[in-house]
Structure formats: C-alpha cells, structure tokens
C-alpha cells in the first residue's frame, strides 16, 4: 500500500486514538506510577457525586482533583500527604477510610464492642442454664 493510500487510514486511526486521551490527559512515567495513581484516587470520594470515587467520577471537579493529585504525586508527595491535603480542604469525608480519632471512636470500636457484649451475654445465659440444669438433678439421680 502506498503512503498516499494509507494516509486516510492513518488519519482515521489517529482520530480513534484521540478521545482516549481527552478523558484525562495524564502521562505516567511508568506502570507503577499509574497503578499508584489509580489506587489512590480509588480511595478518595468525589464530592460532586458522593457515591463515586475520584477514579470513576466524570464530574468536572473530579477531573481537576485528579489533576491535582497527579501534580502532588509528581512533586514527590506521599499518599498520606496527598490525603491530608484533600482532607484539609474537603473534610475527612473525602477519605473512604476514616482516620482513627476521638470523633470516630464510636465508628471504629462500636462493632467490636457490640460483638464482645453479645458474646458476654451469650456466655452468661449459657452458664446460668448449665447451672440450672445441674441444680435440677437430685443427689439420688443416677449418673
């Protein structure tokens, strides 16, 4: 195929390829950086559509926040620093994993505490039943 004949096809291929970059024009230096970016944005909540994470959301603000996360990564900030940066502006609500602090103690410890309390009640009831069963036996009963 001559170049002249191939040119329209090349152009068509080029047009097909462009929209993929239009979604987020971010260039990663390697696969590891891209994976890190994807993992990080998946742990952050989009404020506009609040049941979506930052990686999935197509809201304009999400684009800009992704861009911001990308630039912070490029500036050598750690995941933790980036999360703190966003939480300082948008509240801990942006973090899918809420930090452990007095205001979230109930959230973190209540399920465990309820489980332990439930187990306590269960043990108490079972012991009492066992005692009652033993007390029902008279000394004359045959074992």
């Amino acid at each position: 195929m001559t170049l002249r004949r191939a040119a329209p096809w090349l152009l068509a291929l080029h047009l097909c390829a462009t929209p993929a970059f239009a979604i987020d024009p971010l260039e990663f230096k390697d696969r590891a950086e891209e994976v890190r970016f994807q993992n990080l944005t998946r742990q952050l909540r989009c404020l506009v559509c609040q049941n979506q994470n930052l990686a999935d959301s197509d809201a304009e603000l999400a684009h800009e926040l992704r861009q911001q996360v990308y630039e912070l990564m490029r500036n050598g900030k750690s995941d933790e620093e980036i999360k703190r940066y966003l939480a300082a502006r948008y509240n801990d609500f942006v973090l899918y994993d809420p930090p452990l602090k007095p205001a979230t103690w109930l959230l973190w410890f209540a399920p465990g505490a309820l489980l332990v309390a439930g187990a306590g009640v269960l043990v108490h009831v079972l012991r009492r039943r066992a005692r009652a069963a033993v007390a029902d036996l008279t000394p004359e009963d045959d074992w």
Binding site: Y90, N91, D92, F93
Partner: protein, 184 residues
C-alpha cells in the same frame, strides 16, 4: 428485670432509628461541613474580572470582613441566588467579593451584564485552584471571612432570604461585636 431486657434493647433500637430519621430530615445529606471554619482563609492572588491586569490578594482584603461568593456563569443555581444577593445581602453592608469559579471571563462578564453586578469586586479563578483550596465543590458557595482573614461561616448552596435571617445575620452581628471591643 432480666425479662424486660429484650424490650429495653428493642426500645433503644427504635430510639436510634427515630433519631436517624430525624437527623436525615433536618440535614442536607450532600452538605459536607468545611474543615476550614475557624481557620485562616487560604492564600490567593487572582486577577480582577474587569481589570485583568490588576490582581486582588487575600492580604489586601484584610482589615474588614467580607463575604466571598463563589459563582459561575455556567451555574444555574447562581442565577436563582443572584437577585437575592442584590436585594438581601447587599443592604447588609458587608463587602461582597465574587469568585468567578472555573469560568470563561467573557462569559462571566456577559452573565453579570445581563443580571447586574452585586459585587464590590469580582476575581477570576479560571483553573479552579483557589476554589479547591477553599474546598469548594458546588457553586454557589459563600464564605464569611472576618477582618483577621479567618473563615467564620460557610454556606454550601444558594442563600435564601430565610437563611440570611437565620444564619448570615447572626454571624455578621457576632463579627461586629469583637471588632468594636478591639477598637480604642
């Protein structure tokens, strides 16, 4: 006593669920309280909409309180809020600074030309970075900043005349008090 325990647990659960219903009915679920309240407003230096060669910074606004109103010509709710800013906020005497957020300045000028300009100054945040620093996530939003540059109150969504009475006016009265006390 032990026989009443299940009933007590049941009633406690009912109480918890009723509280949940009450809470949800009285809170806007999409409103995320700003962690910036009581903290210094973020730094910014942004071009003025009508004189792009001049810039307005946070430092220049220190000394008297102002209401920073985040808007955009693309934002439909801002159109509803706009006449309320003119009619109900402007007479309160607080400096009104417009932050034109993620917007084309020409569109913003057209928009203000059509509806009128209630702002004492309009600054443009075209790439939205200052908005992000303020934790803006939906327009309109408004920040009440005191004379020391500290954010005292934030409204997410539009102001209504009722909200101005109930929330903004008491906050403004609060600001007026310590300022008078500090004056010689």
């Amino acid at each position: 006593m032990a026989r009443l325990l299940p009933l007590a647990v049941f009633l406690a659960l009912v109480g918890l669920l009723l509280f949940g219903i009450h809470w949800n009915a009285h809170h806007e679920m999409t409103e995320v309280p700003s962690p910036l309240i009581g903290k210094p407003a973020p730094e910014f230096t942004l071009p003025l909409l009508y004189e792009p060669e001049r810039k307005l910074s946070r430092a220049e606004l220190l000394g008297k309180p102002y209401l920073l109103n985040v808007f955009g010509s693309w934002c439909p709710t801002c159109q509803y809020e706009h006449p309320i800013l003119s009619a109900n906020v402007k007479p309160l005497g607080i400096a009104l600074i417009g932050l034109d957020w993620r917007d084309d300045p020409d569109d913003a000028k057209r928009w203000l030309g059509r509806f009128g300009n209630p702002y004492d100054a309009v600054i443009t945040d075209r790439d939205g970075r200052t908005g992000i620093d303020f934790g803006v996530y939906m327009a309109p939003e408004s920040f009440l900043v005191d004379a020391q540059g500290v954010i005292r109150y934030k409204r997410i969504g539009m102001f209504t005349p009722e909200l101005i009475e109930r929330e903004l006016k008491p906050k403004l009265a609060e600001l007026a008090r310590p300022a008078r006390a500090a004056a010689p």
